[in-house]
Symmetry: C2
Subunit: 342 residues, 2 copies
DNA sequence: CTGAAAGCGCTTACAG
DNA sequence: CTGAAAGCGCTTACAG
């Protein structure tokens, strides 16, 4: 005999009473409750999760789907860890466990998610790395599973998401460079169908237009997440006529490669090419000249995801389920990599 | 009505028969089996995991506990992501799901693990970042939960682990430096109680002894995982009298900081201080002069963990459970950072 | 305030 | 080869 039955027998009570005491349900004598709690602690009793899930119809677990794609995983460096910590900070007090679900690089995202959902492994999901058109959103909606996306999609169906404020980063970067006399400004966007690339590009074009500058598609460089991608970018960029005087990045690590290639060519970051980096990270923190970049609080991103999910799990008594759509701001860290144009 | 009951009714069969058909049990008419499988596919039936777990006593999930401690997390996602992919590659074909369990930085490892284990969330565990004395090993043994550690402990109780071959890295590094005329060789070890620090130190001392050199505790530097830690190390190192001519690292990123600080001091990596880095990683790949370091196949590490775990889940019919203890080798990548001593 | 019993969705001896 | 029934460890109306 094990579990709650054992506990009940040990105490000479029924499992019903023990269960009610354990779960803080009303209608249990205070002395009884205390006896139960004491015994549970003493015997190290923990309710069997599967039995609980079956009886209650909920798992008390939240899944966080993460791609293992080497392509996108590189950016993962320390990004997700910070986010997880933030998510836990709001889920743990609610008694919810966070299960990170790594989708193998060999497996299709949809197949992976479909299986997770159908097996009823979690009460809610957080998905990340959203594509412009991301069928995972429809899958989760169809399954009626509460979810939040870390990242938007281009679809206009309403769903909860938390995303970085790419628009403001693009606008601030352009404003700053234009104010310093730059007119030919290059931009990086990700390979593939990741939605934030389109957002970034759109906001960038708008910001240029606001200054009466024209958006030149030739100055938009599709790159990967890595250091090498930044390196490879430089030669293409220098080939442009007239040569751009500045570049705005969307990946943290690319800056390192750009600095490296410029140095090889006898060029100097800042003087020969103004650079505004993306998220602050250990790797770029000590570049010389110091990189102008943005600070992002990963913990906040995670916490926002957690809250958005809770809002879906406990829908307001009256109204429709509350949909969260929240952009997290990044703050500028002034460096010396984007001086006045020559 | 839902789940298997619904499926059974749809087919005019008992749930028992449907279950047997679904699970490929013997004693089901071929035609019946086919009908069941067809209907399951058509209706998108997936067994409820909680019910299955309760009935079978197993979850078909494996947990991978990961620390979110900023201290150790810095070493990062990029490390774990590669490992996860390797683990999945052997678990997925067995129908096992991998659940990554991130222990919040605010929570005690033992409390976190204890809860996970007691709730019966997984059939097996992988733990990482083992301390010299790591109570998680005893906890898992006491709970009789199959587990594998990524990393050894100093305990002499036998349990399954997969670890990097720190001994060979230490020995090869020392041999190489001594052959190049170095006699005063410094070493880094991690802060805290991480077990591999002790292993690395021990192997280092032994290797020195094999060359008739004495191990000088003043040349052993305790450092963290970050770039800044490498930076901070340099001044202390240069203070030593006589000054060491070489250093062997145990963290990937430290090399970047060492290069940076040396440059500030007008010193040159290699010429003024021979450096052997640790694991090859994007961050150190383009240092100049190129860093001598080691390559590690993360996928292999993960696959080894997966196999070690399977060996525990399906114990050999006859014998005692097979314990895996496997060191994964790292291969030298020759660079220019450790030339002959002056 | 407490107990007996049904039910959550599966699996699996046990009959037939 | 198939069905009826018990059981996995919980929770929760329903009686008392």
């Amino acid at each position: 005999m094990r579990g709650i039955t054992r506990l009940a027998q040990e105490l000479g009570l029924s499992t019903g009473t023990v269960s009610r005491a354990l779960n803080d349900m009303p209608g249990v004598h205070e002395r009884t409750r205390r006896r139960v709690l004491d015994a549970a602690l003493r015997l190290g009793y923990q309710p069997n999760q599967a039995a609980r899930t079956l009886a209650l119809g909920q798992t008390r677990s939240i899944g966080f789907m993460m791609d293992l794609e080497p392509e996108t995983a590189a950016s993962g460096d320390s990004f997700f860890m910070g986010v997880f910590d933030g998510v836990q900070s709001v889920l743990t007090p609610e008694g919810l466990d966070l299960l990170v679900l790594p989708c193998p690089s060999s497996q299709h995202r949809m197949a992976y998610l479909d299986r997770i959902v159908a097996r009823g492994l979690v009460d809610g999901m957080i998905i990340s790395g959203t594509d412009r058109a991301d069928p995972r959103v429809e899958l989760l909606q169809a399954a009626q599973l509460p979810f939040v996306a870390l990242g938007r999609t281009s679809a206009d169906v309403p769903f909860s998401w938390v995303d970085l404020d790419f628009e403001t980063v693009a606008k601030d970067s352009v404003d700053r460079l234009v104010a310093k006399g730059h007119r030919r400004i290059a931009l990086t966007v990700p390979f593939g169908e990741l939605n934030f690339g389109e957002i970034f590009r759109g906001a960038f074009a708008e910001a240029l237009a606001a200054h009466g500058l024209t958006y030149d598609p030739a100055l938009v460089f599709r790159t990967g997440f890595g250091e090498q991608d930044g390196y490879d970018l430089v030669d293409d960029l220098l080939k442009q006529e007239p040569r751009p005087t500045a570049i705005v990045l969307i990946f943290e690590v690319a800056a390192v490669g750009i600095y490296r290639r410029l140095a090889e060519l006898g060029l100097e970051p800042g003087r020969d090419l103004a650079i505004i980096g993306f998220r602050d990270e250990a790797v770029v923190r000590h570049l010389v000249p110091s990189l102008t970049r943005y600070n992002l609080n990963l913990f906040d991103v995670g916490a926002a995801l957690g809250h958005a999910l809770l809002a879906q799990l406990h829908p307001e008594p009256d109204a429709t389920v509350s949909t969260t759509q929240r952009k997290i701001g990044l703050t500028l860290i002034e460096g010396a990599s984007d001086p006045e144009a020559a």
